[in-house]
Amino acid sequence: MDEVLAKKLRILADAAKYDASCASSGAPKRAAGKDGIGSTTGAGICHAYTPDGRCVSLLKILLTNWCLFDCAYCVNRRSSNVRRAKFTVEEVVSLTLNFYKRNYIEGLFLSSGIIRSPDHTMELMTRVAKSLRRDHGFAGYIHLKSIPEASPWLIEEAGLYADRLSINVELPTEASLGRLAPEKDGAAIQGAMAQIGERIIQAKAEKRRFAPAGHSTQVIVGADDTTDAALIAKSETLYGSVGLKRVYYSAFSPIPDGSQILPLKAPPLAREHRLYQADWLLRYYAFTAEEVASASEGGMLALDIDPKLAWALKYRERFPVDVNTADREMLLRVPGLGARAVDRIVKARKHTTLRLDDVARLTSSLKRARPFLIAADHRPVGLTDRADLRAKLVEPAQQLSLF
């Protein structure tokens, strides 16, 4: 790999890393054709972890970090003084293939600053995906960041080659968008997401290939004063209305050469973590955004306990729950019982009566579940009424960052 390419890689990977998503999941299982390379596994693979604990699955780069937009939160805004670079289509294709062949990555996550016009930029990005698929028989994972301002047919063409498309909401409210990204149009973003959502459903029904791994988005946390309750409500709407697969929450992180209108401070990592947990409650635990919010303080999730535990502590009268008789929905609400553990409980209790030891073998966090559970040999007398229960269950303060 030559010097020039390495230099570009350094600039354009640095510019791309603020996108939280690196998932390579959700694609239909594929294998390389004869003489081709690339496969997808369904669940995705993390090929490495960086010291920030995050997974490296895809080669996540920008085609260019030159950009005509001027969004305050973004390191690549046109008024920023960062160094700029631009890959050619061929360079991205070659990097992807060479990294892939050495088993460094699952595929490519390509995004870009906007040069010349949204359409021009989108066309270049699609050319990368098309060349990988057509010229090189590449069957690995491709995630293209769609440009909401690009013409509809270009987004649709991108869906022919990409496994996943995404459009970042970035700022959860119109007011913030107006203040921090005045050139962005919230309605255009929603419209483009709705279009992608509709095409994915159509293509699935008609058994055509169009972004088979679905679409996702990212919201920045902590760059404005939106509450957790409002963020979760927004996610619930997005999951429902445009059929999103995932919402990523990205703690606003200080960037080199930050904007004057945003305070530079440590990213709220603990808050981001709690938002992800709340998001899981929506997607896998049949919670509504309203229920999650009802256990928050002034719209903010507690940082010292997870949102499920917060809900259980707030609605103690619903507990304890009997593992041997309670229905699945209620078991899912027990702190410390994951969806997997609940499935195992429901299966096992058809054949046996569960004791506390049995439950211990079905979940890895019995300690948290215990005060909320009744088993054949266990009944937490009055425990759910104890005033110090919360204090007992608080996780030891974790050092989430070096600050």
Partner: protein, 481 residues
């Protein structure tokens, strides 16, 4: 089956590693003879034993096991725990003796332990698929990719098929302390163990990968504990990028502090007003620009030779919208030149419509077909395909600005109204007002419909079609007046 009481102890000799075949044969034999688990010693020594010294065992009847038990066995056999065979045989024994639902009781200590072992194998496989690193070599003239990996369990044979599916087009070798897997592009073979030294030094892309790894790390989010939980240190020595970890961790706090403390810089003078204004102005300005876009865009369903664009003078008073190009149209790149197009021309002529003065186009711009022998059989576009192409049709009609838009057949109606409306009900004048620009419209059949009718019905239908065209001619003239 025997009652299994007071059986002589049995010793089963198995191959070192993951001996699935040996275990299966032994389990069949033992179960058939009614030998209980406590009477069996599973030996992985290479010394001969009573069982091993027996003549080649004749095949025993396969055991009829619950699916979950059968599925678990190959997932546990590669485990390095010497007790694995004994535990599996105990599971088989219980499943065969009244506990067929045993696997559903995940809280059972034996099931729990075996599940944990299967999970460990799953993790080991996953980590091998994730963390193995190839190096490219051309030492022997040909290109080959070589890797060294040290799994925790005996998983080489279980792990290799993944690499075949993924790297089918490469030639590669995976070396481990227990054996090697070699793929030559056609066949997978296993061979003797290797060593780390067998992997060639230096690969041109390793430094680039390390650069990427360093750059994608965000120093403001440092969390080494989370990293080590997923990527334990034991893997690091075979992963080139991990050499950067100590320096990244050392520098993280300082880099972040610098970013936070640094005064925001004065923005660069870049205020490219004209470029920013031009950026928002990207829509095609005329029919030629639109057609250029259509021409260079891929068909939604692969196969078409080219996009078939609309034809006729902009400003034509009547625009005809058909379904999609057919075989002839696809080859010639012009609309309505196949059998249906010829029929349309004839009918237009009879109705007194000048084809050359009308605009003809299709709802969908690419031919879609299924191949039957050498013939390409036309296939109707789906609703999703129609809506995909609708963006273009809308713009196209806006540029042509006809006074009257004629929908030929159901697909055109769907494209122009966004709804599936039966032709028989809506035939005749119709208002297409889904667009920003609203069009006076007319709905009639597609000429290909006439070609498909039985002969006795053809004449009448053709006459009705010509009658429709006559009304269209009159309407078009009225609207243009």
């Amino acid at each position: 089956m025997n009652d299994g009481r007071m059986r002589a102890p049995r010793t089963i000799l198995l191959r070192p590693g993951a001996d699935l075949t040996g275990f299966r044969d032994a389990a069949r034999r033992l179960a058939a003879e009614g030998v209980p688990p406590e009477a069996v010693t599973w030996s992985l020594e290479s010394a001969p034993s009573l069982f091993g010294s027996e003549a080649a065992p004749q095949a025993d009847r396969p055991l009829s096991l619950p699916r979950a038990v059968a599925a678990l066995i190959p997932q546990v056999v590669p485990h390095r725990d010497p007790e694995r065979y004994g535990l599996l045989y105990a599971l088989i024994w219980r499943a065969l003796h009244g506990e067929r639902h045993l696997m559903e009781v995940a809280s059972d200590p034996l099931v729990h332990r075996l599940n944990l072992m299967a999970k460990a194998i799953g993790r080991d496989l996953h980590k091998m698929h994730a963390f193995l690193r190839f190096r490219r070599t051309t030492d022997d003239g040909d290109e080959r990719y070589v890797a060294w990996f040290e799994p925790d369990h005996h998983i080489l044979e279980a792990a290799a098929p993944f690499f075949v599916r993924r790297f089918a087009g490469m030639r590669w070798t995976i070396l481990t302390p227990e054996g090697r897997a070699v793929w030559d592009g056609d066949a997978l073979t296993y061979g003797p163990p290797g060593s780390r030294g067998d992997v060639p030094e230096g690969d041109g892309f390793e430094a680039g990968w390390q650069t990427y790894y360093e750059t994608t790390f965000n120093p403001a989010r440092v969390n080494p504990k989370a990293m080590r939980a997923e990527m334990p240190k034991k893997y690091w020595r075979n992963m080139p990028e991990t050499a950067s970890i100590p320096a990244l961790l050392r520098g993280a706090a300082e880099r972040t502090a610098q970013m936070i403390e640094r005064e925001p810089t004065v923005p660069a003078r870049r205020e490219p007003a004209r470029a920013v204004a031009a950026m928002a102005d990207q829509d095609p300005k005329n029919l030629d620009e639109l057609n250029a876009i259509i021409r260079r865009t891929e068909p939604l369903v692969p196969g078409a030779t080219q996009a078939v664009l609309g034809e006729g003078p902009p400003g034509a008073s009547v625009a005809f919208v058909g379904e999609q190009p057919g075989d002839q149209e696809d080859l010639k790149g012009r609309p309505f030149v196949g059998p249906a197009g010829q029929l349309l021309s004839r009918a237009m002529e009879e109705a007194g419509i000048d084809r050359g003065g009308s605009y003809l186009t299709n709802a969908v711009k690419h031919f879609k077909f299924t191949l039957r022998g050498k013939r390409r059989i036309h296939e109707k576009p789906t609703a999703g395909e129609v809506s995909h192409y609708r963006w273009w049709l809308d713009r196209e009609l806006e540029f042509v600005a006809p006074k009257l838009v004629v929908a030929l057949g159901a697909t055109a109606v769907l494209a122009l109204t966004g709804k599936a409306i039966p032709i028989t009900r809506a035939r005749g004048p119709f208002r297409f007002d889904r667009h920003e620009t609203r069009f006076q419209g007319f709905i009639t059949v597609h000429p290909s419909y006439l070609l498909r009718l039985p002969d006795e019905a053809k004449e009448e239908a053709y006459a009705a079609f010509v009658a429709d065209l006559k009304r269209i001619a009159t309407l078009g003239a009225e609207l243009s007046a």
